[in-house]
């Protein structure tokens, strides 16, 4: 399998994630789509590292994994707190702040 196929796969994953954030209503699902985008970036990093024959991309992938884990902690805490208040995780119902 040539590396370029993996780059195409990474594009596809990133696009699925980005479209998912835009069309889904549930905050948790939106958040999972963001994680998909981060993982698509990881795949691109690792593939490019292989193509260029250096380690920068692989190191980047490790850092991204750590950052994604930290983001999960903060994100779920915020989403759970608003869920406990409103009994829903739908982003359409969070409509007090507008205009």
């Amino acid at each position: 399998m040539t590396p370029i196929n993996l780059i195409v796969l990474s594009f596809v994953l990133f696009t699925i994630g980005a479209v998912g954030v835009l069309v889904r209503r549930n905050a948790i699902v939106m958040f999972m789509c963001v994680e998909l985008m981060l993982n698509a970036a990881n795949l691109a990093f690792v593939t490019f590292a292989r193509m260029h024959g250096n380690l920068d991309g692989q190191i980047a992938a490790f850092f991204v994994m750590v950052v994604a884990a930290a983001e999960v902690v903060v994100g779920l805490a915020i989403i759970v707190s608003i869920f406990r208040t409103r009994r829903t995780a739908s982003v359409d119902d969070a409509n007090l702040l507008k205009y």
Partner: protein, 518 residues
């Protein structure tokens, strides 16, 4: 092959220039000390320990920054660039964080901005009990310090991975801090969710942009990217795609149109001291990072990014100024004003010269201090439900408490760019740099949208001074020493930079003269 290499040469310990990294190390050390205070100091005593620790630590970090003046060096094995513009930006961030911390440290139960128990559901018995017990969520201090540490690293990052990590270190604590308002907790939590989802979305774009640029250049170091750009033989598509995605992430952080929609909601919902921190420090840090990326990494492809930045600057100035006219909430209005100001600063960024850089630096200082001062005034105008943010509630404030209304009017005039305030000097500097850089049409749009913006600033002044006070209107809380000091610093800097701007302009010009280290 790599394992052979490793076997041949002994592993060398990285060379870390601790002195040059001191400002960041001190602030991160403060954050960790804050966590330890949370763990070991009894609940009642925590605020009393945190506040002096934070203020003294920030002062020490400021001194450490000043001591580095004149450094022009890539530190920490190429990960962090320490140079004139970076040190200037770091000093500005630390000073603004110090003033914001004065507001955060405001801890009297009736005027504290922060929730008593963030885990309790609003409106429940649990929440009432913690309110009666007089609890406060003191985790605010270490969270703020982590965010400030990230802000210091963000403009200094010399490779894109460090920049991404710094972006997350500054963003994650801010997402949490947004949700910690004491009053109107539903709004506050909603602001936190919106900021988090949009912020995570934008940083995913930023990261994918880094991956694309890495694919083009084979390195994430800005200097090597610049080299690859100048010897462009690789796949240009990857480079352009990467730069676009990277720019999207950065422009989101500074709230440029069309990536601005989070700003009014988050500024309105967040606790006001945190809004002051975001409105000043985050914007400064984001501009610092944008400047470094555009000047160091992609300076060689100015002709590719310039037209887009022109468009974004024009949209940001015009939409920020026009939409602000219809706002009825003071914090929302200041948020749109902050969007318009981001557009004004962008005109200085686009000039891409040493003059553009120095005028941008000056503008950021001037704007940051005025913003913190204005939000400090917002914390003072209160009624039974907390801060009275609706503009109609401010009617006649000038008759009831002329001093507070007068100071707020002064800040608004500075935002509008009236002479003898820092706003005028700042705008003059960036517009002059833009004209010198051949961006005259941009300056014309800038001046016109300044005129539109002046309309809504003056409208607030008219509401405050020329309408009758509401009988059950808000009262102005007597400012405590801390809030009073924050307001005083805001007024002093706004006035001094307006009347006697030359020393600060010279300082910015000196800092910018060496440009960024590569």
């Amino acid at each position: 092959m790599n394992s052979q290499l490793l076997a041949q040469s002994a592993v060398q310990a990285p060379h870390i220039e601790y002195g040059q990294l001191a400002p960041m190390l001190i602030v991160f050390g403060l954050a960790i000390a804050g966590v330890l205070v949370e763990a070991f100091v009894p609940r009642r005593a925590r605020s009393a320990v945190h506040a002096p620790l934070t203020l003294v630590g920030l002062a020490a970090a400021f001194v450490a920054t000043v001591l580095q003046a004149g450094t022009h060096h890539v530190a920490a094995e190429g990960a962090v660039g320490v140079d004139g513009p970076t040190l200037f930006i770091q000093g500005t961030i630390i000073a603004l964080a110090f003033v914001s911390s004065l507001l955060i440290a405001e801890r009297r139960p009736d005027t504290s901005a922060f929730v008593s128990d963030a885990a309790s559901v609003p409106g429940t018995q649990e929440e009432r009990e913690s309110l009666v017990a007089g609890d406060v969520q003191t985790e605010v201090y270490p969270l703020t310090m982590f965010a400030v540490g990230g802000m210091l690293l963000f403009p200094a990052a010399n490779d894109l991975l460090t920049m991404f990590v710094a972006l997350e270190v500054l963003s994650l604590p801010l997402y949490v801090l947004c949700g910690l308002a004491r009053r109107r907790r539903l709004l506050s939590q909603e602001a936190a969710v919106k900021y988090f989802l949009l912020g995570a979305f934008s940083s995913a774009f930023f990261l994918y942009g880094i991956a694309m640029v890495y694919g083009f250049a084979g390195s994430i170091r800005l200097s090597e990217i610049a080299l690859a750009v100048s010897h462009s033989g690789g796949n240009e598509t990857l480079l352009l795609l990467g730069l676009a995605l990277l720019g999207m992430g950065l422009l989101f952080k500074l709230g440029a149109v069309p990536f601005h929609s989070w700003k009014p909601d988050v500024y309105q919902g967040a606790p006001t001291p945190i809004t002051a921190l975001m409105g000043s420090c985050t914007v400064v840090a984001a501009f610092g990072a944008l400047l470094r990326v555009l000047y160091v990494g992609f300076g060689g492809m100015q002709w590719d990014w310039r037209p887009f930045m022109w468009g974004i600057a024009i949209l940001t100035m015009v939409i920020g100024a026009i939409v602000a006219i219809t706002q009825a909430d003071v914090k929302r209005m200041l948020a749109y004003s902050s969007i318009a100001h981001a557009g004004f600063v962008l005109t200085g960024v686009i000039a891409s010269s040493s003059q553009g850089l120095s005028s941008t630096l000056f503008y950021l200082v001037a704007y940051g201090f005025t913003t913190v001062g204005a939000f400090a005034i917002v914390t003072l105008v209160r009624d039974a439900a907390g801060e009275a943010n609706h503009l109609s509630r401010w009617a006649g404030l000038g008759r009831r408490s002329p001093l507070v209304a007068g100071i707020f009017a002064f800040f608004l005039l500075a935002f509008a760019g009236i002479p003898l305030t820092s706003g005028f000097t700042g705008k003059f500097a960036v517009f002059a740099a833009a004209v010198a850089g051949g961006a005259t049409p941009l300056v014309i749009v800038g001046v016109l949208s300044s005129a539109v913006a002046a309309f809504f600033y003056v409208r607030v002044i008219v509401v405050m001074f020329f309408s009758d006070p509401n009988p059950d209107g808000p009262t102005v809380a007597a400012p405590s020493l801390l809030t009073g000091a924050a307001v005083a610093v805001g007024v002093a800097v706004t006035l001094v930079l307006g009347v006697l701007p030359q020393p600060a302009l010279d300082l910015a010009a000196n800092a910018a003269a060496g440009l960024f280290v590569r």
